[in-house]
Symmetry: C2
Subunit: 192 residues, 2 copies
Amino acid sequence: MSKKITVTPFPAIVPSPVVMVSCKGKEEDSKPNIITLAWVGIVCSDPPTVGISMRPERYSYSLIKESGEFVVNVPREDLLLATDYCGMVSGTRVDKFTKTKLTPVPCEKVAAPMIKECPVNLECKVTQIIEIGAHHMFLGEIITVHIDEDIRRNGAMDIAKMTPLAYCSGSSDYWGLKGPLGRYGFAKSAFD
Amino acid sequence: MSKKITVTPFPAIVPSPVVMVSCKGKEEDSKPNIITLAWVGIVCSDPPTVGISMRPERYSYSLIKESGEFVVNVPREDLLLATDYCGMVSGTRVDKFTKTKLTPVPCEKVAAPMIKECPVNLECKVTQIIEIGAHHMFLGEIITVHIDEDIRRNGAMDIAKMTPLAYCSGSSDYWGLKGPLGRYGFAKSAFD
């Protein structure tokens, strides 16, 4: 078996989800923005809650803080170019919806638009802001979920059709998923 | 383009990382335990911090709460059976290290052991406990990281050799990763 090496602490959990968060300031005529994030995930099943972490210097941080709302849009593999781009440039300089040609679609319960091309969209209301360090985490209760009809299966999702992206912080690249290895709970009696 | 359908809110962010968290009570002779979790992720880069969510009824919850420490062990694909099992049974009934034959190895800075067979191990100290709902989230600062020599590359990780697991809540199964699609930042000038 391989020898273990002790290294300087780094974000060594892989893979992370990669999502595009859309948001909008409080003013009616405020322009919506998109920020790509990987330090995100589900943090509670009931009420269903997400955590999204970002640096307070980011433009989207102020939009979400003032509006108390955001939308988590989960992209397909074929949106990788726009996904990476929206993590690289600032909404203070460019209108990312216009640049990427992603389509803003009105949400049901939040003022920010969802991204039409993303097959999964979660409308969220901020419940807490945790100031951790260089990143602050918004906790957002998921109040509405929209999914594209063509990836729906048994009330949930067909992952093979959805083709989500995974970010690997250990190598700084995006990966695709290859296929299912086992169902949750399949090993319950494996060691009895 | 496919029509969007509004569904009951569920944890629709995919994929999630899947990790085995090892922990131990405060008493010297307390037995270590393992719990598999998917509601986990990096929440801050500096200080490097993880968030791990679990129900307070879980045995590991009390162990981590009393010790203020835990270890995040990131498994390879070939550990899927043990990984799923450790999320299914309670440490109040079985000694999961003995049952799964996973090897506890002493850590440097926390009393709980790491899991030798996992190629990445993060020693963490609890900095905050956030009571969200059915799940509470421990925030843990990553104080030491160990990685297996055979997956090390350029000071970080060779993901192809590591073969991490991804959990898809939308279909309730574990997936493997197929290969890199692009490097972080590759699309920075794509829409200029």
